[in-house]
């Protein structure tokens, strides 16, 4: 059974600081997705990572994938309050499988 773990589960950081959220998964996969969820809202797709070494950046967020280590990171640079949300990673379990396995989520709070 595929397990996807994120850490930390909760992260409170000051504006302007840098931090990284980690997503570990337990089986071979080269497709990983990051989603953002604001309180009471739905999930918004942030990044799609499709190969070992893939790196995607959007504004102050950068995601990377290391399939050999079965690890993805979401790096936040110079955090701003608008980035406060819960971030989920999700993994394709098998080639061509239409299901995703979601991580536990990281609730990020940016303090002014």
């Amino acid at each position: 059974e595929l397990k996807v773990e994120q850490n930390p589960l909760f992260l409170s950081m000051q504006e302007g600081k840098n931090y990284t959220i980690y997503c570990n998964y337990s089986t071979t996969s080269d497709r990983l997705y990051w989603y953002r969820q604001d309180p009471g809202k739905s999930l918004e797709s942030l990044f799609v990572l499709l190969s070992n070494g893939a790196v995607k950046q959007e504004g102050r967020l950068m995601a990377s994938l290391d399939t050999k280590a079965r690890l993805s990171t979401l790096h936040i640079t110079a955090a701003v309050h608008d980035l406060s949300a819960t971030y989920f990673c999700a993994v394709d379990e098998n080639f061509g499988n239409e299901k995703l396995t979601f991580g536990t989520g990281t609730r990020l709070t940016i303090i002014p």
Binding site: R31, Y33, G40, L43, S45, D92, N97, E98, G103, G105
Partner: protein, 120 residues
């Protein structure tokens, strides 16, 4: 704009009174999913349709049923809601992930805005 639409956005029902949530999509995607999400938890997959093929998760209670009358619409029926069924219900779609994977594509899922279900 192509999108995933859920109705209603908020639903209040009484304990044991059947309720139906609806999802429609203009993306023409093959796969439609229903997730249940409780506070501070990850979304939990209830079932999904790959075209007309229904796929139920092993731990989805019998109280939950689904219908997909055509490509665009999918419904979630809760036959006898209990207090524990209060949650956000999320509908999602994806393109043909199997054939897409063979062409090097992927299974990005697009989510609707959700329906918040309250059970009194």
């Amino acid at each position: 704009d192509a999108m995933v639409i859920q109705n209603p956005r908020y639903q209040v029902t009484q304990f044991g009174k059947p309720v139906t949530l609806s999802c429609s999509q203009t993306l023409n995607h093959n796969v439609m999913y229903w997730y249940q999400q409780k506070s501070s938890q990850a979304p939990k997959l209830l079932f999904h349709y790959y075209d007309k093929d229904f796929n139920n998760e092993a731990d989805t209670p019998d109280n939950f049923q689904s219908r997909r009358p055509n490509t665009s619409f999918c419904f979630l029926d809760i036959r006898s809601p209990g207090l524990g069924d209060a949650a956000m219900y999320l509908c999602a779609t994806s393109r043909d992930p199997v054939q897409g994977a063979l062409r090097g594509a992927y299974n990005e899922q697009f989510f609707g805005p959700g329906t918040r279900l309250t059970v009194l």
